[in-house]
Symmetry: C2
Subunit: 393 residues, 2 copies
């Protein structure tokens, strides 16, 4: 591994000698545990020489058409690619096409070992392959982190639960980057997290925050498709205007509008479904406005991600007031979208159909340049994005 | 209404003139909003002359055998009985046999108007009746509050949701007081709140706190009947011993045992089902020990009832850490038992069967004397009860 060269433009070195391929990947490592809001100094860009592989290795088999096509594999979270010997892996070298920037990565920054690649997914293109199932040019999504090049090995298909390597769904002329957006994890998060947990009925009053985000903007539209009345909150007047374009019946800028007052006005009979991306103070204000038997689909809590309280540590700082939860008989459910991996294609297929029918719109906030990964990530906590944030290296 | 006579023994004055019946009821009113833990000074015992009724009034019809036999009626919460004219009601005079003392009453003390009867249920016996469906001697349960005598009117069958008048189920030689205990609201709270919300499977690890209480002790036993492994917490060594007798696999005194350490030891793979009666700090300690996809049936939160935070007021003091709820994909559900009123008899029938088979045990903590109502109630917050708290006037 070479010295750190943050901000330096990508260099690729591919040499062929007796079928040996070598590539220098750029990798953003997490080098310091963020305290509060992450800073660029928490990350370091390094170069990594990818392990070479020789001819005759066993093939890496991905099964894009199998019903449970989403493989149940993942590399050790945050670990860098290390392969003890050539027999252990098959050469599928992929190059990042679009890297995903997501709020959940703030949690990963608490969990992964320091000085290992920052966790994340990307759309990548196969650039070297001996696998007939994955010829050069194939696009796929993997979770190997903030890196420009990756060698995927058979290790990635073993013994892991949440993340894996998957082929992109058929998406026609749509941008490949949607495979980490509306036709990927965020899209399915909206689709399943709203439909499966909230079980909306026509006429239900639905509250969505972070409504101009990758997930929230999809939830607004899916709720409208299901005949719900949608109250949306976002963080700027421009975002609010877009959310109204998407069909929200009411949209507010939470920075200039009191949440409780707004809900009193537009949901006097209470909110039946609350799709929560924000948590914290927003939820504290919203919870008293839930209707009896209301459902809270707890997708995220971005307003709390920079707090000290960690997952699995006892705390008494959450907004889910027990008296309110009991007397309103609320159902609160947290989820990770990978619980629906067996139904992954169902969601993507429906989402694509809605896009083609003009019923589902999306936006991307695109950062050009791999060196922008940390700043794009930090921008999430300032609401700099509209729709999905993507870095194109 | 006569002057207040707290603590004075009950006097009954019944006179018959042209079928006019008059009764002096003793009534505990809430006269001050409790601040923190309730005190006896928050309550005042007054005498109330019940309204007279004349012959020929229409009959009050209760339908104990109807499928939805639990009437959807209730008097205005906490209001005293006032009837504008004799045509509005039918004479069914009932006398309290056993009065219920329940933690939820602390919430009611925030809600009901001051200087009105304290909210609560009781087993009562019909002492005067012109209703052939309810002859003298019939036992029923009503929610008219902390009072010795009550005239039930047709008003009680109109337009109200949660509480009503109901006949006692058939209970053979069992004590009538069980109609407000294991064969009443607390029994069904355990039955439905555990089975319907938690959907236990054999082998599930179940955590129950308040496990020596009216509800908790039933949940411990129902969980064992369903093949679960039960971890129980109670507030004294005597209670812990009883909970072990009931079949709990592990039982701890939360006052002398660290909750997190105990759970690490006996539930290293996590808790699948948490039936919570206590809330607050207990839950903060327990939540990190939930297994993925765990269910929290939020029945009560007695440890928080004396806090300032009220239902429907925004707060950030709950233990349901959002990161933990999301990443463990927890399902948290608050409930009021009256959501199952259409299935009320199903629960009572099964509970009675288990009692008769010796599979379900119960205890009552009985206070003798109507004057003990406030002190029995206050005692709940010191864990003075084992099983159901009842006042026999």
């Amino acid at each position: 591994m070479s010295a750190a060269l943050p901000g330096v433009a990508l260099k690729r070195a591919v040499s062929r000698r007796k079928s040996i391929i070598m590539v220098i990947a750029k990798v953003w490592q997490l080098v310091r545990r963020p305290e509060g809001e992450p800073t660029v100094e928490d990350f370091l860009c390094v170069e990594e020489e990818l392990p070479a592989c020789s001819e005759g290795d066993s093939l890496l088999i991905l099964e894009p058409d199998a019903p449970d096509w989403f493989s149940s594999s993942v590399s050790e979270i945050g670990s860098s690619l290390t392969v003890s010997n050539a027999d252990d892996f098959t050469h599928v070298l992929v190059e990042a096409v679009a890297l995903s920037i997501d709020p959940y990565m703030r949690y990963k920054a608490r969990q992964i070992p320091l000085n290992t690649p920052m966790f994340g997914s990307q759309v990548a293109k196969v650039v070297e392959s001996k696998n007939p199932e994955l010829p050069v040019g194939t696009h796929l999504v993997h979770y190997e982190g903030w890196r420009t090049y990756t060698v995927l090995t058979s290790q990635h298909l073993k013994d892991k639960e949440h993340f894996g390597v998957m082929c992109l769904p058929e998406m026609g002329d749509l941008p490949k980057s949607l495979g980490i957006g509306i036709l990927g994890m965020p899209g399915n998060t909206a689709y399943f997290g709203f439909l499966d947990i909230c079980k909306p009925k026509a006429g239900d009053v639905v509250l969505v925050n972070g409504a101009a985000g990758a997930v929230g903007s999809a939830v607004v539209q899916i709720a409208k498709l299901k005949g719900c009345r949608v109250i949306a909150f976002a963080g700027s007047d421009e975002k609010v205007a877009w959310v109204k374009e998407l069909g929200a019946d009411h949209a507010f800028n939470y920075k200039t509008m009191n949440i409780g007052e707004a809900l009193s006005k537009v949901a006097p009979k209470g909110v039946n479904i609350y799709f929560d991306n924000v948590g914290g103070k927003f939820t504290a204000q919203a919870l008293p406005h839930m209707a009896d038997y209301g459902v809270v689909s707890l997708c995220g809590a971005i307003s709390t991600y920079n707090e000290e309280v960690d997952i699995g540590v006892p705390s008494l700082r959450s907004p889910f007031n027990e008296g309110t939860v009991i007397w309103k008989q609320l159902h609160i459910e947290g989820f990770l979208v990978f619980r629906w991996k067996a139904r992954w294609m169902e969601g993507l297929k429906q989402l694509r159909e809605w896009i083609e029918q003009g019923k589902l719109k999306y936006k991307e906030t695109v950062f050009q340049g791999f060196e922008k990964m940390p700043s794009a990530f930090i921008g999430l906590f300032h609401g700099e994005n509209t729709g999905k944030t993507v870095v194109v290296p």
